[in-house]
Amino acid sequence: MTSFRNNTDRLLEVTLQGEKVLAIAGAMVAYTGSVKFEKSLLGGEGIFGAIKRKVTSEGMQMMQASGTGTVYFAHNAAEITIIPLGGEKLTIESSSLLAYDTTLKTGTSFAGLRGAASGQGLFSTTVEGNGSIAVISKGNLIMLAVTPSSPLRVDPDAFVGFKGDIKQEFVFDVNWRTMVGQSSGESYQHKFTGTGVVFIQPAER
């Protein structure tokens, strides 16, 4: 398994030993050793997955790094957080994805109304399996726990992803002020119920 490490909070260090890692195209800033970078045409999802991505425009320009050495990834000086997955399923905005192990399986899931409100497209990316995933966020990534007794509401613009046994719903807070253009700017939220973790960033898209 590849080893993911935070060199600084904005630089990801991945050690490869004949392994492969997928990352956003163009995110490599430096490497040592002999590593090859190739555009990943299918993103490890097979032809069906690639077509689905095309249709849903949950598109990701990914590249595959393979070989032996150390690769450094960074993207627009955004903060990077490594989330280890042990057989769980993580749902994430494709724009927040930086790199992940090829041992993980990715796919597209229907995000429902939330996608329309957050402008992130109606579909989200899901990552499943055993391995590490590196997530970028504007500002430090914040993890909020959700329990059955305390559901969580999140601004769709700050939402990054979630993990665990969570149900998502859409909540409106629309009154006559919204209709006359005097909204508080927080008319839609995303409600999470169940047990798990929700990831948000301290910036709104």
Binding site: T8, M28, A30, Q61, M63, A74, N76
Partner: protein
């Protein structure tokens, strides 16, 4: 000699004792004591070098601060790193230069002088122009980076490849060359975005930033 101190990761304090310091024009945010600021035309380099700078577009507007007191520098909320130069030459992109003291000699280096054609390609590829700034002597340099500045050590056994867009500068006995990684995918518009890199071999340090220009 001027003492550099990092106030926080985005701000640097320089203590002047009747000394001079050069800095990016407009980067002063506050000062204490008796300090005068004036536009520096020569940047401590003499007329010939000025002419070269004008011709080569490796231009940066510098100001000189003179006097006794404390000066605080910051620029655009970018990260600031202090790099000590000890009798060696630091190559740095002029965009990333924040401040340096008058003990250092600044110059302009034609990249072609350092690595032949590959050097020219490097300048063209990184979009940084074909010329780079050199600082020589003993002193301190404050540099700017978008995201933390990371110094990667280069040894004879471990050469380092760097994305030209993340490159800030380097120091030490280093040879640069261009590595291309082109295959059929590149030509059908399916490039990985990492088709060429700058390879540094030798002994020294390469500085990169966590963002691509």
């Amino acid at each position: 000699m001027p003492a550099y101190q990092q106030i926080n990761e985005k701000m640097v304090e320089v203590q002047l004792n009747n000394e001079e310091i050069f800095a990016k024009k407009g980067a002063m945010i506050s000062y204490q004591g008796e300090v005068q600021f004036s536009r520096s035309f020569l940047g401590g380099q003499g007329v010939q070098s000025l002419a070269m700078r004008a011709v080569t577009n490796e231009g940066y507007a510098l100001m000189v601060a003179k006097g006794t007191g404390k000066v605080y520098y910051a620029f655009n909320g970018l990260f600031v790193t202090i790099i000590p130069v000890r009798g060696e030459t630091l190559y740095i992109e002029s965009d990333n230069l924040l401040a340096f003291d008058a003990r250092l000699t600044a110059g302009t280096m034609f990249l072609g002088n350092q690595g032949g054609v590959a050097g020219i390609v490097r300048g063209a590829a990184s979009g940084q122009g074909l010329f780079t700034t050199t600082l020589q002597g003993t002193g301190e340099v404050a540099i700017l980076s978008d995201g933390n500045c990371i110094g990667l050590p280069v040894t004879n056994a471990v050469p380092v490849c760097v994305d030209p867009q993340a490159y800030i500068g380097h120091t030490g006995q280093l040879d640069t060359s261009i590595v291309t990684d082109l295959n059929w995918k590149t030509f059908v518009g399916q490039a990985s975005g990492e088709s060429y890199q700058m390879k540094f071999s030798g002994t020294g340090t390469v500085y990169i930033q966590a963002s691509e220009r």
